[in-house]
């Protein structure tokens, strides 16, 4: 049982502010990968799915729990992988930029 909902409320509010603060300066170029990355993070619902499936007392509940585990794994793993695929595209031009900067410095 949750002995003190107030503690949970406190954590909820503080985490809410952290979430807003950390991404407040994102450039529009990164909106898509950021959305995708945040999407992968809420895939940790996998933990919840494992917990309920792992304490299932009947077969129907277990089956339902396993469905949740599958869905959550798709969300989490797929989310991180597709975000990485997007970001690879960004790291390549960055190198090119570094090179041109270096060339300017050489001259």
């Amino acid at each position: 049982m949750n002995t003190d909902p107030l503690i949970w409320l406190t954590i909820f509010v503080l985490a809410g502010f952290v979430g807003v603060e950390v991404i407040s300066k994102v450039s529009s170029t990164l909106h898509t990968p950021l959305m995708s990355g945040a999407n992968a993070i809420h895939g940790v619902i996998l933990i919840g799915a494992i917990l309920v499936a792992g304490s299932a007392q009947s077969t129907p509940i277990l089956v339902l729990g396993l469905v949740a585990v599958i869905l959550a794994s798709i969300n989490m793993v797929g989310g991180f992988v597709v975000t990485d695929r997007m970001l690879i595209m960004f790291s390549r031009p960055k190198k090119a930029l570094d090179k041109s900067v270096r060339r300017e410095l050489d001259q």
Binding site: F17, S27, S28, S36, H42, G48, G54, G65, I74, V82
Partner: protein, 460 residues
């Protein structure tokens, strides 16, 4: 009770997620940020198996393996052009998982007298998780063009929506007063209905904003299920995504010069009658690749406005060769990247970077827009809505208020289009009928190769 070392482990994972979000908001650290986030998630999974008494170990591991395989396969198979709908699907299944977790948790709560807050959190998770799941499926169908991309509004929509909200509220109260599976199922069904209703009136071009909003919704359901399961990591991670996702939704909307409310419910005001799909038979000026090649070859300044059509035709690479050739001839060429070019904000940067277009040639809207006045030719390839003057001149158009690239100010405008079909937002583009506009019909890749050939012939 969760042991102290496991709590500390969850705290480490939570910090990983915060660092991940921070990293993802800057190009230099984005990839590392994502890896840190994945590491945090992996750590959390290991902890849950070690710290909690998990039965049915084998079936659960098998389920994780299956989900991982599907997720990885989907993520690697998807074309970069179709990535937005994949993100929508991933988000939807996450929301669905949260709703299922809450329903199962209810079967344990309903055994004895359950705390009221737990029941409220259960009702919230079921209804919002279902909204997220069903809404994401509809956004997928819209983006994949399996259903119409235009806003769908019907008579009695506001009444139905209002009834849906009331029903969700009534069933939630029912669930809290008399916890039972009946109310849980009713809530899930109502939530799914509300999710569909939420996305239907949103026009195709605005759908990415809705994905971001549903993403934030799923985050909140994960937070609520964290409270239910007394798992602090779920609470923190869910809340982070919920608040960051809400802000991101607003940022994306403002990049399009719109408010979130306007995007969600704008179509209800009945202003979107302009989104007619009828192909107009007004006269336009069209030319062949040879004429356009000459136009480009003897220009001094060319600005390219790439759009989704370019990416779909996979013509980025041919375009790059064309640009290289023009630059050899001394033509100054830049790409004008509208913030929402492609299917979502930042999508076009990803697509062009994939074709190895030099980063320096990609100019953001604020930087390049004033230069159209000096440009000899604006070459619009597979783009439409982002150069549509209706965004400024026609109040009531679905894209009204969206900042546009003023390609119309260039001396000559060349439009490469497949047909006279309107763009993703489904609105007629006045720019096509402007006297300075020339149309070059055909598949972008095919036309681009012909154009390249003509240009080579001129150079020799």
């Amino acid at each position: 009770m969760t042991p102290a070392w496991a709590q500390l482990g969850y705290l480490v994972a939570a910090v990983c997620f915060i660092v991940a979000l921070k990293g993802l908001s800057s190009p230099r650290t984005a990839r590392r940020g994502n890896v840190i986030g994945a590491a945090g998630a992996l750590l959390a999974c290991v902890i849950v198996f070690l710290a909690s008494d998990i039965q049915h170990l084998l079936p659960i591991l098998a389920a994780i393996a299956a989900g991982t395989a599907i997720g990885v396969l989907g993520a690697y198979r998807v074309q970069m052009t179709q990535m937005p709908q994949l993100v929508a699907l991933f988000n939807g299944v996450g929301g669905g998982a949260a709703a299922i977790v809450a329903i199962i948790e209810l079967t344990e709560l309903s055994g004895g007298p359950a705390p009221v807050f737990d029941l409220i959190a259960t009702a919230f998770t079921i209804v919002v998780g279902s909204v997220s799941f069903a809404g994401s499926v509809v956004t997928f169908l819209k983006l994949q063009e399996l259903m119409t991309t235009r806003p769908v509004v019907f008579r009695g929509y506001p009444i139905l929506y209002g009834l849906g909200l009331l029903a969700a509220l009534a069933f939630s109260v029912g669930l809290v007063l008399a916890p039972s599976m009946l109310f849980a199922v009713l809530l899930a069904v109502t939530g799914a209905g509300l999710g569909v209703l939420l996305v239907l009136p949103v026009g195709g071009a605005d759908v990415p904003i809705v994905i971001s909003l549903l993403n934030a919704f799923t985050g909140l359901t994960v937070a609520a299920s964290g409270y239910l399961l007394e798992n602090i990591l779920l609470l923190i991670a869910g809340t982070l995504v919920g608040s960051a996702g809400t802000l991101l939704t607003r940022l994306m909307a403002s990049a399009m010069g719109r408010s979130v409310i306007n995007i969600l419910f704008g179509a209800l005001k009945g202003g979107s009658t302009l989104g007619a799909t009828t192909v107009s038979d007004r006269p336009v000026k069209s030319a062949g690749p040879a004429d356009v090649a000459i136009l480009l070859a003897y220009a001094q300044r060319v600005i390219i406005v790439p759009g989704y059509g370019l990416a779909v035709a996979q013509a980025q690479h041919t375009l790059r060769q064309l640009v290289d050739l023009l630059e050899e001839r001394g033509v100054q060429v830049d790409y004008a990247i509208h913030p929402v070019a492609g299917r979502m904000p930042g999508h076009m940067n990803v697509l062009l970077a994939e074709a190895q277009v030099p980063y320096e040639q990609l100019k953001e809207m604020a930087e390049i827009d004033p230069e159209f006045k000096q440009a000899d030719v604006a070459l619009v390839i597979g783009a439409n809505d982002v150069v549509n003057p209706a965004a400024e001149t026609t109040p009531g158009a679905p894209i009204y208020g969206m900042p546009i690239l003023h390609a119309n100010q260039a001396r000559q405008v060349v439009f490469m289009k497949r047909s006279m079909r309107p763009g993703f937002a489904g609105i007629e583009n006045e720019l096509l009928y402007q006297p300075t506009t020339t149309l070059l019909f055909g598949d972008a890749k095919d036309t681009m190769s012909k154009l390249l050939g003509e240009l080579k012939a001129l150079t020799v």
